[in-house]
């Protein structure tokens, strides 16, 4: 599924088909023509002009069009958290966010966390605590963790686990992820 997504993405004229990355066998539904619209997103503090269809997810806009590949696509259905970004300071899943609806809002992705090459404390804590194996879920984990700490939900390991439950890690790096968040929260 991921492979198909990545190959399809390079072909802008075939967006409508490339967009359909459903893992489940779906019947060949007729694809109606859609009007592309010009939008400007505010991503990591900079304006990002894009041309998207109304159905384009924020995730696809970031990855395919803006070349911001740090945000990952796992399930594309809201159930894994790999695509987590911040919109106006709130953590959301970008796969279920329409890019056109993100206009006028401040979007932060994993690429926007480090300042002048210095890692964000949560990024540094993930490195120090080895909070990942393959790293695929990591950008989403870190975006969720940064928000979790700001929300005030890092009071205990149990609380961290509960408030990180929207981020799945297939490598099972959970103990180290919790340790990294605990460290980063104590530091801040």
């Amino acid at each position: 599924m991921l492979g198909a997504t990545v190959t399809g993405l390079a072909l802008a004229p075939q967006r409508s088909r490339a967009d359909d990355t459903s893992p489940a066998p779906a019947p060949a539904a007729p694809v109606r023509s859609a009007e592309a619209v010009d939008i400007v997103l505010q991503v990591n503090g900079s304006p990002l002009p894009l041309t998207v269809e109304p159905r384009t997810s924020l995730l696809d806009a970031l990855r395919e069009q803006a070349g911001l590949n740090g945000t990952k696509k796992g399930c594309d259905r809201g159930s894994c958290g790999a695509c987590t970004v911040h919109v106006d300071g709130r953590r959301v899943v970008s796969c279920l966010t329409l890019a056109v609806r993100a206009q006028g809002k401040a979007i932060t992705t994993i690429e926007g966390l480090a300042v002048n090459g210095t890692l964000h404390p949560v990024q540094a804590a993930f490195v120090a605590q080895d909070g990942f194996q393959c790293g695929y879920c990591t950008p989403g984990q870190i975006m969720s963790a940064v928000a979790l700490i700001e929300e005030g939900h890092a009071g205990s390991d149990a609380e961290i686990r509960s408030w990180m439950s929207g981020n799945i890690c297939r490598c099972g790096a959970y103990p180290n992820i919790v340790a990294a968040i605990r460290d980063a929260a104590q530091e801040g």
Partner: protein, 324 residues
């Protein structure tokens, strides 16, 4: 996913007018877009509810009013909700993930569609998705599905935790029709039993918009509790859940409402449990005897008979916790 247009209405009139002409409302989009990605729903015109003034959470001495576009996370964290209607906050915090709760709205949550796997996969027949095509769940994967309110045509469980909490609080729903008329209905009358038309899920009229949910204040509401039993500790739909609101001052049950989730084809009130408690002394025995009545008339399928026992135990635990 098929393509669609997205209209940003400049007010309620424009929104319901477009809804009356066949457009589909999009709130947080967390269910609608998931269904659209899988071609289960194929909307061609979406109406964005975000520009509408429907996000307020208003608290008075007598009631709580939740705008249809109030987000799940904001309602869950609202201090008055936590203090006076805890069952709402608990049900919301047990729902989905922090990210989804930051997006999902009160109106959208009540109208989310079933998680029956056949419904959500267009490779299968499903009476709810394609009327008359059949119900593979009856003989297939039905462990998660309903044991109450089922019909031979559909046994899908209603998935909303919030709705279960709101029916014990006897909430009502404010609606606005495309011609501008408004009406208020009890939440208990919003969802329909599947019967022989499982594709008709609510009593909403074409284009009708949910504008708010109103919740009366009550002593029982202040002593309310939500218990959710699921396959993992978090980020999972309910196998069984129980919502309880109880007023048992001076050791006698004056007011009691009990409902269950995960077991019904709609949010399921349990009057048999309530009647066994109302007016009776609050003792471990009366609680246990009442809970043992939960789920009368259940019609389990091949894999979900365990829910009958789980329901009785969940109801008892919720009653015990609410009165502890």
């Amino acid at each position: 996913m098929q393509s669609f247009t997205l209209a940003a209405p400049n007010g309620l009139d424009a929104a319901t007018d477009a809804g009356g002409r066949g457009g589909r409302y999009i709130a947080g989009g967390t269910d609608l877009l998931q269904l659209a990605k899988d071609n289960v729903e194929t909307p061609d015109r979406l109406i964005d509810l975000e520009p509408l003034p429907l996000t307020d959470i208003t608290v008075t001495d007598d009631s709580l009013r939740l705008g249809a576009m109030a987000r799940m996370s904001e309602v869950a964290a609202h201090p008055a909700v936590v203090a006076r209607w805890p069952v709402i906050s608990q049900a919301l915090l047990a729902s989905a993930s922090p990210q989804i709760r930051n997006m999902g709205t009160i109106g959208g949550n009540l109208l989310q569609r079933t998680r029956c796997g056949y419904f959500r996969d267009t490779g299968f027949a499903c009476n709810k998705r394609v009327p008359g095509s059949g119900c593979p769940a009856r003989e297939g994967e039905n462990r998660m599905l309903a044991i109450l309110g089922t019909s031979e045509h559909c046994i899908a469980s209603h998935a909303s935790d919030l709705a279960v909490a709101l029916i014990v609080l006897e909430a009502s729903v404010d609606l606005r029709a495309p011609d501008g008329t408004t009406r208020t209905i009890p939440l208990a009358e919003l969802h329909k039993l599947p019967g022989d038309t499982p594709h008709v899920e609510t009593t909403l009229r074409p284009g009708e918009l949910i504008t708010a949910v109103a919740v009366p204040a009550s002593r029982a509401g202040m002593r309310s509790h939500y218990l959710k039993v699921r396959d993992r500790a978090s980020f999972e739909f309910a196998l069984v859940s129980a919502a309880v609101a109880i007023d048992a001052g001076a050791g006698t049950v004056h007011d009691i409402r009990v409902a269950a989730g995960g077991v019904g084809t709609k949010p399921w009130r349990l009057p048999e449990v309530e009647e066994a408690l109302r007016g009776h002394p609050l003792t471990p025995k009366t609680l246990a005897d009442a809970a043992a009545l939960a789920g009368q008339g259940a019609t389990p399928a091949t894999q979900n008979g365990f829910k009958q026992v789980l329901l009785r135990r969940a109801v008892l635990r919720a009653l015990q916790t609410a009165t502890a």
